[in-house]
């Protein structure tokens, strides 16, 4: 089905209200992206989200939009606290999947001779791939409940990092309102074995170098300079989050029937924000979000330990400090001004990143003048971006922007395209070492399977919903 779109300007497209849509759709994309989008179902999904009760403003999609489940990936939708709904499908299975960026005192050229040893040691120390875990790390049920309530702060207390890290994490690494009583035994069980693991698929751990600086002042505030080594961690709440989502989809399917909500797609099942079902979901979702924050904090600890050991340097020489840590699959209570009126909204970001503007109280004091750092990973062959949030995003997208490159090629097509290629060899020749648990993952995650993230960032910049600060080039990638 072709969805009717009207071009507003070179990077904005309106989807007019039709049928059961309660509001219009707003898609950020270039003309070329829009042409590709008409071939899949992502635009229909923007329309489907627009039918949900209590939606405030348009049903939006960022330029990395692609076909998801229920919500499109790259989808942003805000719901009124009294009349709106919360939908687990609007957050996704990997609750608080997100990205953390670490700076360092290292220069890329200085560590290049040791990059192979660093990659091997990280691959060994940070569990990646399916079913992986650290044999030296075990978690009791009581401790797991503490993880769910305290998030990254729990990990810091266990020796994975220090309190300074917490200041530079979205929400200080702890989402309020987490209640382990709202989580199933099965989620506890799946989580216990997987805390402190990277996972597989598009998750990664990457050693990078700062390749380009676009805004020298903002880069200086973030502590970034050309040639510097950085480390990115992209993972989420692992099996714990998947189980929470799965459990609550069942509850929400019943809730949608109970409250008379018509669903264009079951995966959009939801409950009124004022209902018990919604309160329970948000309390369980917060547990999963905190699990993910703790996960990235633990991996940070192992990354620091690995660098110290391989390079025989102390923490004060390396200064592997957290620049920022963002969620890109989450629903959050936020206050936004809508048509001149301050409103309490539940903002769903499914494959979208919060991008608050300079001066916002929720940004760490050190970054308040430049805006919230936004971390946009690209594919493993090209580059990732560091952006900052803008007033434009705050006014137009409830303070949201893109989250990554977005796939353009199916996994089957990627594997077919990879046939006959030595992808790992080709990436090494172009300066990126890859260590991966499975060869299938490397083929399916090949750079060509993704949009060029530069095109996504260009649209974001043109639309004024993000501001480019730096571009990072991968030196070594650890994949699950």
């Amino acid at each position: 089905m072709t969805v009717k779109v009207q071009q507003i300007d070179p990077c904005r497209w309106r989807i007019p209200r039709t049928g059961a849509m309660r509001t219009e759709g707003l898609v950020f994309a270039s003309a070329k992206m829009m042409k590709d989008l008409q071939r899949e179902q992502a635009l229909e999904q923007v329309c489907n989200v627009a039918t949900l009760p209590g939606i405030v403003g348009p049903s939006m999609a960022m330029p990395d939009i692609h076909w998801g489940y229920g919500f499109p990936i790259g989808g942003v939708a805000a719901f009124d606290a009294d009349e709106g709904v919360v939908s687990p499908g609007g957050v996704g299975y990997d609750i608080n999947c997100g990205v953390r960026l670490l700076r360092s005192n290292l220069e890329a050229e200085a560590i290049r001779p040791q990059i192979g040893r660093l990659a091997d040691a990280l691959f060994h120390n940070v569990p990646s791939g399916v079913g992986s875990s650290r044999r030296d790390f075990k978690l009791s049920i009581q401790e797991e409940a503490c993880v769910l309530v305290r998030g990254a702060a729990w990990a810091v207390q266990q020796g994975f990092g220090d309190t300074a890290d917490l200041e530079r994490i979205e929400g200080h690494g702890t989402i309020a309102g987490a209640d382990p009583e709202m989580v199933s035994e099965r989620a506890f069980e799946r989580g216990r074995a997987q805390l402190g693991t990277l996972g597989s698929g598009n998750h990664f751990l990457e050693i990078q170098q700062v390749e380009v600086i676009y805004d020298a002042e903002a880069a200086a505030v973030l502590g970034l300079h050309p040639g510097q080594v950085t480390v990115s961690i992209h993972t989420g709440s692992r099996g714990f989050g998947y189980q929470v989502c799965d459990d609550y989809l069942k509850i929400m399917l019943r809730a949608a029937r109970k409250y008379g909500i018509t669903l264009p797609d079951r995966q959009l099942c939801c409950a009124p924000l004022q209902s018990d079902e919604a309160r329970s979901y948000l309390a369980a979702m917060a547990c999963a979000a905190n699990f993910a924050f703790a996960n990235r904090q633990m991996i940070t600890g192992w990354v620091r330990e690995t660098f110290e050991r391989v390079l025989s340097k102390g923490p004060s020489d390396l200064r592997l400090g957290v620049i920022y840590d963002v969620c890109h699959n989450i629903a959050k209570w936020e206050d936004h001004r809508v048509n001149g009126r301050q409103r309490r909204l539940c903002v769903h970001r499914k494959g979208a990143t919060r991008a608050f503007p300079p001066g916002h109280a929720e940004i760490p004091a050190a970054y308040r003048e430049i805006g919230q750092p936004v971390l946009i990973p690209g594919d493993m062959g090209r580059y990732s971006y560091v952006l900052t949030g803008t007033a434009g995003a705050y006014d137009e997208t409830f303070g949201s922007t893109c989250h990554g490159a977005g796939r353009v090629m199916s996994r089957h097509a990627a594997k077919k395209a990879a046939r006959g290629h030595d992808l790992i060899g080709e990436l090494a020749a172009s300066g990126t070492l890859v260590r991966a648990a499975g060869r299938a993952t490397v083929a399916e995650e090949m750079p060509e399977a993704y949009k060029d993230v530069a095109d996504v960032v260009e649209v974001v910049q043109q639309a004024g919903i993000g501001h480019a600060v730096a571009r990072l080039k991968p030196m070594a990638v650890i994949k699950g």
Partner: protein, 141 residues
């Protein structure tokens, strides 16, 4: 789909789907589990050395199918098991009793192709069609 398969893995931009056709409701669900196993582990040979019972209750057939497949994902993930087959003892619109069999994952003999986050409800169906049954799900990877 090979001639021996009643299922097919289907394309999705970010993830993958499974669809199956079979003569009966039992067989179509069994084929979906075979498809799920191939999606996760590829086509490594798997012996039925370990079995476990699966019992699912749901409000409708689609929820029943999705829940059954997620039970297999859970069994495989938690026990590090490679599923070989599902045998259904009984199934109706809201209840399914089955036995899943397989063997522990052995890196020497099995390959792990993908991690499944969950089987989703997006465009999921379990329908009677002329001459048999049709099922489809999309899987979040």
């Amino acid at each position: 789909m090979t001639p021996a398969d009643g299922f097919r893995l289907i394309e999705h931009t970010a993830d993958m789907g499974i669809e199956a056709r079979a003569a009966s409701r039992e067989e179509v669900v069994e084929e979906m589990v075979r498809g799920l196993a191939v999606l996760i582990f590829g086509r490594s040979p798997v012996a039925s050395r370990v079995t476990t019972k699966i019992e699912v209750r749901a409000e409708d057939p689609v929820e029943l199918l999705v829940s059954c497949l997620n039970e297999v994902v859970y069994w495989s993930e938690q026990g590090h098991m490679v599923p070989a087959a599902l045998r259904i003892q009984s199934i109706n619109d809201g209840e399914l009793l089955a036995t899943v069999s397989g063997e522990p994952f052995d890196p020497e003999r099995h390959s792990m192709e993908r991690e499944v986050k969950s089987v989703t409800y997006h465009q999921a169906c379990l329908d009677e069609i002329p001459g048999g049954w049709y099922a489809r799900v999309y899987v979040d990877l």
